[in-house]
């Protein structure tokens, strides 16, 4: 119970500290989600229904990944630079809760963009969604894995390098990952890389959750994702616990 209370208090702290930029952050999230759908639509012209469904169900994944992979490490890098991380670490709060509260803040922030992205996609391409009952926990798993990977990156790398790497990762996610288009379009070697990376399973999971009539996720992909989630969360928690 204390853990939940402390997580919520920490989240409140982070939330309020960002309060000046909160509306802007939400707007940017919404923009990214909508832009992915509409922008890709422009790129591919008038897509056939399968391609359209791919695009519309890929957009929310992109939102979740950018929030986790970019926003979370940027916040961590910022708190490292301004010195608040070291102070927070002197508080009698279990280390894992810092991760949990940041995750909570960013997931909540990502939500409006994600929902709007789905709605805009469905309207723009005139597609029918079939939402699976487990969509919410699936979304949380994706969001948590992305944030944990981002957190681990920002913990290990010096702040300026961390923000460079995460910005590069956004391009990889946007253009070189089978999120908005099928994996078959990529060169074989890249397909093989994505068999072990977490991005494709994330996309598959969200896709299957949004349109369960059209897509499924294999047990293997789910396993890859869960392993990534565990390893990244463990690494992030270890980095938070580390003593110089």
């Amino acid at each position: 119970m204390t853990a939940v209370r402390q997580t919520l208090l920490l989240a409140q702290w982070q939330f309020r500290r960002q309060s000046t930029f909160l509306p802007l952050l939400v707007v940017v999230q919404v923009f990214i989600a909508v832009a992915t759908v509409v922008g890709y639509g422009l790129l591919v012209g008038d897509p056939p229904p399968e391609v359209a469904l791919y695009l519309a169900t890929g957009a929310p994944t992109i939102t979740l990944i950018t929030v986790g992979l970019v926003m979370t490490p940027q916040l961590l890098a910022q708190s490292k630079t301004e010195g608040s991380l070291d102070w927070m670490r002197t508080l009698p709060v279990p280390r894992g809760l810092f991760l949990a509260s940041d995750l909570l803040v960013w997931t909540v922030l990502a939500l409006p963009g994600m929902v709007l992205g789905v709605l805009v996609g469905a309207a723009r391409f005139d597609i029918e969604l079939s939402i699976a009952p487990w969509l919410v926990p699936a979304t949380l798993l994706v969001s948590m894995t992305a944030a944990a990977v981002g957190y681990a990156l920002a913990s290990v790398l010096p702040p300026p390098l961390a923000s460079l790497v995460t910005q590069m990762l956004v391009f990889v996610v946007l253009l070189f990952s089978p999120v908005s288009y099928p994996a078959e379009r990529m060169p074989t070697w890249l397909q093989q890389v994505h068999e072990w990376a977490p991005i494709e399973p994330m996309a598959q999971l969200v896709r299957a959750g949004l349109a369960q009539d059209a897509f499924t996720i294999s047990g293997r992909s789910l396993l890859v994702l869960v392993v990534w989630c565990l390893v990244a969360t463990g690494a992030a928690a270890m980095a938070l616990r580390r003593r110089a």
Partner: protein, 320 residues
């Protein structure tokens, strides 16, 4: 070791690795008891912050033990943290929050109950005269107010041990007095307070014990009276010169320091009357603007201790 021991540090050593490895702590022994304010003096780089960071488990010691309120702080940093509250040397950024909100949130994070924390935060704001800024966004408050806010955040729900790292920095003289009162009160209410400071003159009146740290070792420790005992019977005479004037000290005064328009020296107490007469003549002759005679201060002792250490240090560094 008594029941009321809050912090016991023995043989603490820490070396930071890297190309220019630094032996930050080189065998520190330190005790803080409940109800005591212990001052930790030392110049920049003496090893104070490293010591504090080991106590709260941000830095892992190479050697030595830290017992915090009965807990082995090296083996159980999490439990140790629950018993200590720290005001870091750097201000905690609280942009987006107001001082009151920041104080209350930290109090609740530290396990305080909502209404109790609110009451205590209100008391602290009152006691430190923060009222006019308490509900202003942190972006708009001055460095001194931010510093006092950080202090209040630390003591709103104090641990058994309270560590304050330079709490008076940037704080105006009036509020500094209020701050010292609060620090004294913390100890009187049962906490052990470890006070890291450069402000020897002001700390002298508040602390029960002092430890002087230099090059990662405790050079001297004791009560303020005990530390100045060697200088008892000696007074310090300070002169403010008029521009262009020079003075030659009378017999019996040992020159201590000299800067632009400022001279200081030490004089045995029995010769003090003679020196006062001399100084008064200098004032009449227009050589000095004013003078003062004060008991040998802790600051003098501190500077002497560290200078002695400096004199011995070079040989040691070559050997290392």
């Amino acid at each position: 070791m008594g029941q009321d021991e809050v912090l016991t540090v023995r043989g603490l050593r820490k070396r930071y690795r890297g190309r220019r490895g630094v032996q930050a702590n080189d065998g520190i022994d330190l005790d803080v008891r409940a109800g005591q304010v212990v001052g930790l003096l030392g110049h920049n780089g003496a090893g104070k912050t490293t010591l504090v960071n080991q106590v709260v488990g941000l830095v892992l010691p190479d050697e030595g033990t830290i017992v915090l309120d009965g807990i082995d702080a090296v083996a159980r940093p999490g439990q140790a943290r629950a018993r200590a509250s720290i005001q870091a040397q750097a201000n905690v950024p609280i942009t987006g929050l107001t001082p009151r909100l920041a104080i209350e949130l930290v109090g609740r994070l530290r396990g305080g109950e909502r209404s109790a924390v609110r009451t205590r935060a209100g008391e602290l704001i009152e006691a430190l005269d923060l009222g006019p800024w308490a509900d202003t966004r942190a972006e708009k408050v001055s460095g001194g107010i931010a510093r006092l806010t950080a202090f209040a955040m630390t003591v709103v729900q104090p641990g058994r041990l309270v560590v304050l790292d330079e709490p008076t920095n940037d704080v105006d003289p009036v509020r500094r007095r209020l701050l010292w009162q609060q620090i004294r009160r913390l100890a009187d209410e049962g906490a052990g307070v470890l006070l890291v400071t450069h402000n020897v003159r002001e700390a002298e009146r508040v602390v029960d014990r002092l430890a002087v740290l230099d090059h990662g070792v405790v050079l001297a420790a004791g009560t303020p009276a005990g530390l100045t005992a060697s200088r008892q019977g000696t007074l310090t005479v300070e002169l403010d010169l008029l521009p262009g004037a020079t003075v030659t000290w009378p017999d019996g005064v040992v020159a201590r320091g000299s800067s632009r328009l400022r001279e200081s020296g030490s004089v045995p107490a029995e010769d003090a009357a003679e020196v006062v007469r001399w100084a008064q003549r200098q004032v009449h002759q227009g050589a000095i603007e004013r003078y003062s005679l004060v008991p040998a201060s802790l600051e003098d002792v501190y500077v002497e201790l560290v200078e002695d250490e400096r004199r011995d240090a070079p040989a040691e560094e070559v050997a290392a």
